[in-house]
Every structure is written in C-alpha cells, then in structure tokens.
C-alpha cells in the first residue's frame, strides 16, 4: 500500500486516453460535465468519438444504446446522481432490457460532490442500479480498481455501472492482483467477525481492522467491489466462519451493499449483522471528510461498531 492519493475521476480520464487506441469502437458521451468528470481530454484528442449532448442525460443514455446496437462500445459519463435518477427509465427499458454493452460511468459518487449538497450527492445509486436486471454494478475502491473495472467492462457483453469518486483517495491496489468482476477481494483473514466494504470506505476498513487487532479482535476483511452479481459463495463461507458481519458503504443502508449482503446471508447463512452507511435521510454541504464523519462513515465508527457487534449490550 502506498500513501499516494489519486482521484478516481482523474484515473478515469487517463484510462479513457490509454484505452482509446486499443479499443477503436469505444466512444464517450458526456452531458455537459466533461471537465468535471474528466472526459474532456478524450474529447479533445478523439473529436469524432466524443459526444457532448448538453444537459440531457436521458437522451445521452439512449443515444449510447442506439450506438451499441450498431457495434460501438459507448461509455456514458455524468454525475452518478443524475445517471441513476434522470436516466433510470433509459437504463432499465433500453440498455438493460436489451443487454446492450453500454458502460455507465457514475461520477461524483457517494458524498464526494460534498460542497454541492444533498441534491448532488449520490447515495442511492447502488440501490437503483442493482435493481436493474442484466446490469453489473461495480464500486471500485481506488483509481487502480477503477481503471481495471473499466477495462473489464469493455470486454463484457452486457451493461456495467461503475461508480467513480470525485476526490483524491488513497491508492490501495497498485501492486495487487487486478480486480475481477464478480469476485470478492480478501484483504485480511480473521475469525471474530467479517467486515464487508465497498468503495472509498475500504481504506477506512483496513485501518479499523488493524486497530481491532490491537484489541485482540481479528476481522475477515472482504472488499466487495462487485455489488452485482455478488460473490455469494465467499460471503457465505466467511459468515459461517465468523458468525458476525459488519457492512460498510458510502450509500444509504436501504438497498446498498448491506442489503445485498443481507439478501444472501438471510437465506443461506443467517448471521447477526450490522450496517454502516447513511441513514434514511438527506445529507448536506460540507468538506468531504467532515461529511463522511458526520454521517457515520469513519475508522472510529467501524471500530466501535465492530466491537458492539462482538459484545452486544
């Protein structure tokens, strides 16, 4: 692990440029946020393969769908909150219904559009996207995984949703084996409890697990980058071993990673669970770190919630 911080959106912009020569059928569409979402450099270098459709997300998604039926590999880029809400009809009825190979790049995911406030923060995109049949849902934890997810999605047949964080976050997996869609990445082995995490909070979960070791608690730490299709086998094996599962996500706890894990375990290995995420409420403006902390996504909270799960009052 290195201490370097990289913004996933920057890694996204660089990956588009790097992949462009090898994947000539790749095209990029953006809805007037190309400088923010970092598709602009691709657009400047590959003018004929870039389509800025203006502030019209629904239209953008269906244009991409039409292109995909004709052999192109479109990557659709805008803020995750708009992609999942304004584009829900197009994602469901055109892209997913027809299994079209469109990549949905949901930028400014989670609370990362922090200062713009609740209207721009995307805390229910995972819930919406994972309800879509045929859609693969990936939540990378760093810029390395983001690029790997993009490369893997370009090789897949159906549509893929990839959540992208706006802000610099620790690079975790520069030297690790590449992300494999549909597979959990096991970060630590332990026997007292399972911590299942996705996205930006992954670095927090790693730190919390280290602290727990100091308290004599060993955690099975699973990074669940693919929310759908979820790696049920690995989750069930871990839950049977530890008997207690804590989920951590930068998303509402209604319908996200915690819900996905609970759907598996409640049917195959009923396990005592606790979920860290945003409660059923709207968030607010503020610094990214301050927001994550206020809404319960922090190293301290993971540590204390793990202890509470082990020692219920």
């Amino acid at each position: 692990m290195t201490a370097v911080n990289v913004a996933m959106r920057d890694a996204f912009g660089e990956a588009l440029l790097a992949l462009a020569p090898d994947v000539p059928e790749m095209v990029v569409l953006d809805a007037d946020v190309s400088t923010s979402a970092r598709t602009a450099a691709f657009g400047q270098r590959h003018v004929s393969r870039f389509f800025n459709v203006g502030v019209a997300e629904a239209n953008m998604l269906d244009i991409a769908a039409g292109m995909a039926t004709c052999g192109l590999r479109p990557i659709v880029s805008t803020f995750a909150v708009f992609l999942s809400l304004k584009g829900a009809d197009q994602v469901r009825n055109i892209i997913c219904y027809n299994k079209l190979p469109v990549i949905l790049a949901g930028n400014y995911g989670g609370l990362s559009d922090s200062y713009d406030g609740a209207s721009h923060q995307s805390i229910l995109d995972i819930a919406i996207m994972r309800a879509m049949p045929n859609l693969t849902v990936v939540v990378p934890a760093d810029g390395v995984e983001l690029r790997q997810a993009l490369e893997a999605a370009l090789r897949r047949d159906g549509p893929t949703y990839i959540r992208i964080c706006r802000n610099p976050t620790p690079v975790l997996f520069a030297d690790a084996p590449p992300l494999e869609i549909g597979k959990v990445r096991k970060l630590k082995s332990g026997s007292d409890l399972t911590i299942a995490v996705c996205g930006v909070p992954t670095s927090m979960a790693i730190e919390a697990a280290d602290r727990l070791v100091q308290r004599g608690v060993s955690a099975d730490l699973l990074e669940v980058a693919t929310i759908k299709p979820i790696d049920a086998e690995t989750l069930v094996i871990s839950a049977r071993k530890t008997g207690k599962v804590l989920t951590v996500e930068e998303h509402t706890i209604h319908g996200g990673l915690g819900s996905a894990v609970a759907e598996v375990l409640s049917q195959r290995a009923p396990t005592r669970m606790s979920m860290i995420g945003i409660e059923d409420r709207f968030t607010e403006s503020g610094a990214y770190d301050a927001l994550l902390h206020k809404y319960g996504i922090s190293v301290d909270r993971i540590e204390s919630e793990a202890l509470r799960l082990l020692n219920p009052e």
């Binding site: 095209v27 004929s48 393969r49 389509f51 459709v53 203006g54 019209a56 629904a58 239209n59 953008m60 998604l61 269906d62 244009i63 991409a64 769908a65 039409g66 292109m67 995909a68 039926t69 004709c70 052999g71 192109l72 479109p74 009809d89 197009q90 009825n93 055109i94 219904y97 027809n98 299994k99």
Partner: protein
C-alpha cells in the same frame, strides 16, 4: 375468425411498375389491418388505434424503402427502423412476418405467454425489431445513436424513427431533436404519424403540438415542404422520394393520419386506442375493412 389468406406479399418487391406497386402496397396495408383486427379481437388485447394509423407507413417502409434481409435480421448494413410508438406492435409484427422475418402463423401468439411477440416490441425476442420500445420518448435518441454510429463506422445505412403524438409529448424527444440538429447525422429520418389523437383524447385537448412543422424547423430540422396523406401509398412513396433527394440532415416528414384508420366508428376516436374489441364491434369493423379491401383490389 382468422380469415386472411394474403396474396404472396413479397411479390410486390419484384414489381417494377410504380403505379401498380403502389396499388399492391395499398391492398397489403388493408389486408394487414384485417389481420391485426383479427388478432386483437381473438386475443382480447392490444392497441388498434395506433396500429391502424401506421399501416401504410410500415408497409411502405418494409416493402419499398428499406434495404433489409429478413433471412439475416442482424445484417450490419441493413437500414434501421425504430418504432418509437411501440404500441403499434401488432402492425409491426404483421408487416415483419409477411416480409419474411418469421412465419405469419406465429402472429396469433401476440401477447400470450411464452410468445416472441411481446405486448410492446422486444428486439431480443422478435426477429426484425431493431429496438425495444413502448415507453414513449426513447425512439429519436436511439435512432440518433444508430445514425451517428453509421457515420463513425463509415456505413451508409438509413435510420428511420416512427413517431406518434404521444412521443412528441415526451421531453426526451425534444432533447433528441436538439441533439440531432447539433450532430446532423446523414440519413436520419423522422416519420411522424400525426393522427392528433392520443390515449386520453384529442391532442388539442391533451397536449397540442401545432404548429409542428414550424417547431421542427425552428429546431433546425430539414422538414418536408408538404404534409403527406399517411394513408395513401402514392403519397407516402412521394414523401420517400423527397427524403432520398435530401442532403441536409436530420430530415422529418409529417403525415396526416387517422387513429384507427379504416373503421369509420373507430377513426379519430381515443376510445379505440387500446380497448378490447368485442364480438359485435369486431363483426361491424371487419365488414367495413373488407368492403374497402375489395375496392382496393379492383384497382390493382
């Protein structure tokens, strides 16, 4: 009562005499109306109004304008059609079946369990369907994407989108209309089945779209100078001649049509958008359609 024994529909493809071909296509459209009426009555479900409205347009597209290979539905160089008014599905399926995409006998499975012929078109199930539609407003965007792909991949296929009044209500249609005028893809053509009746009633009461040609021109589309009679094959072929002669894109043609065309008491009547056709109505409607068909056959 599945009565229609169509003449060999594909014979019309070989017809070189334009006048005769138009008369044959006119008969075909009317025969397909009868088939659709039979299916909707027999199965007790489906949309008559919008299907009858689009009969001549769909027939003229698949039996005259479009370069397709029914034996190879996914042929990459084929012309594309996005039927944005997906509730015309029964007419689309009838046209596709008789064009050779699948056996006409399959039409009776329309909307039934395990059928390839879904209530609204599904491109993964029905050979010949280029895009799944049904929820209104998607078609123009999808067609724009197909036309842009043609440009990028240096292919010369045509992309048509068939729109109805309901489609024009949808905000996304106007997003696509703006974007198409920005990108100007070659050979993108919107055909507007402008019957001015939607599900709930006359468009004038639900959502007036006039002045439509002026609106489209203001959005920088190349709009045909005339509004054509969408139930006259001669007129529809004329409109296609105009389309093929254009160099400015995107292009749009507006057709004056009648919802429920062919049955006097169903025409322009929102009640027959999607109502079940009962036995008494069916008998009366069928008689009218047959009378017209006989007259049209005499003209061939």
């Amino acid at each position: 009562m599945q009565a229609n024994t169509h003449r060999e529909p594909r014979a019309v493809l070989q017809e070189k005499d334009r006048k005769k071909k138009a008369a044959m296509l006119q008969v075909l459209a009317q025969e397909f109306r009868l088939t659709v009426l039979d299916i909707l009555h027999e199965n007790g479900t489906g949309h008559w109004g919008g299907a009858a409205s689009a009969a001549e347009l769909l027939v003229a597209l698949y039996f005259h304008a479009m370069n397709v290979r029914p034996e190879e539905p996914g042929w990459p160089l084929r012309d594309r059609l996005v039927v944005s008014k997906g509730h015309a599905s029964c007419m689309l399926y009838t046209v596709l079946a008789h064009r050779g995409y699948f056996a006409p006998a399959e039409l009776k499975t329309f909307r039934q369990i395990d059928s390839r012929l879904q209530g609204h078109p599904c491109m993964l199930k029905t050979p010949g369907v280029d895009m799944s539609t049904g929820p209104l407003g998607h078609g123009t965007s999808v067609a724009l994407g197909m036309a842009l792909a043609a440009r990028l991949l240096e292919k010369s296929y045509w992309t048509y989108v068939l729109l109805g009044d309901g489609d024009l209500n949808e905000g996304q249609t106007w997003e696509a209309i703006m974007a198409a005028a920005k990108f100007k893809p070659e050979r993108l053509v919107a055909l507007i089945d402008y019957n001015k009746v939607q599900l709930d009633g006359p468009s004038e009461q639900i959502m007036p779209m006039d002045p439509l040609p002026e609106k489209l021109r203001a959005f920088n589309w190349n709009v045909a100078p005339a509004v054509y009679d969408g139930h006259s094959i001669v007129e529809v072929l004329k409109s296609f001649d105009w389309v093929k002669g254009q160099r400015q894109w995107p292009a749009a043609v507006i057709y004056k049509t009648h919802k429920g065309q062919g049955v006097s008491f169903m025409e322009d009547n929102a009640q027959w958008h999607g109502a079940v056709i009962d036995d008494a109505t069916y008998t009366k409607a069928r008689q009218e359609l047959l009378q017209t068909l006989q007259k049209l056959e005499e003209l061939v």
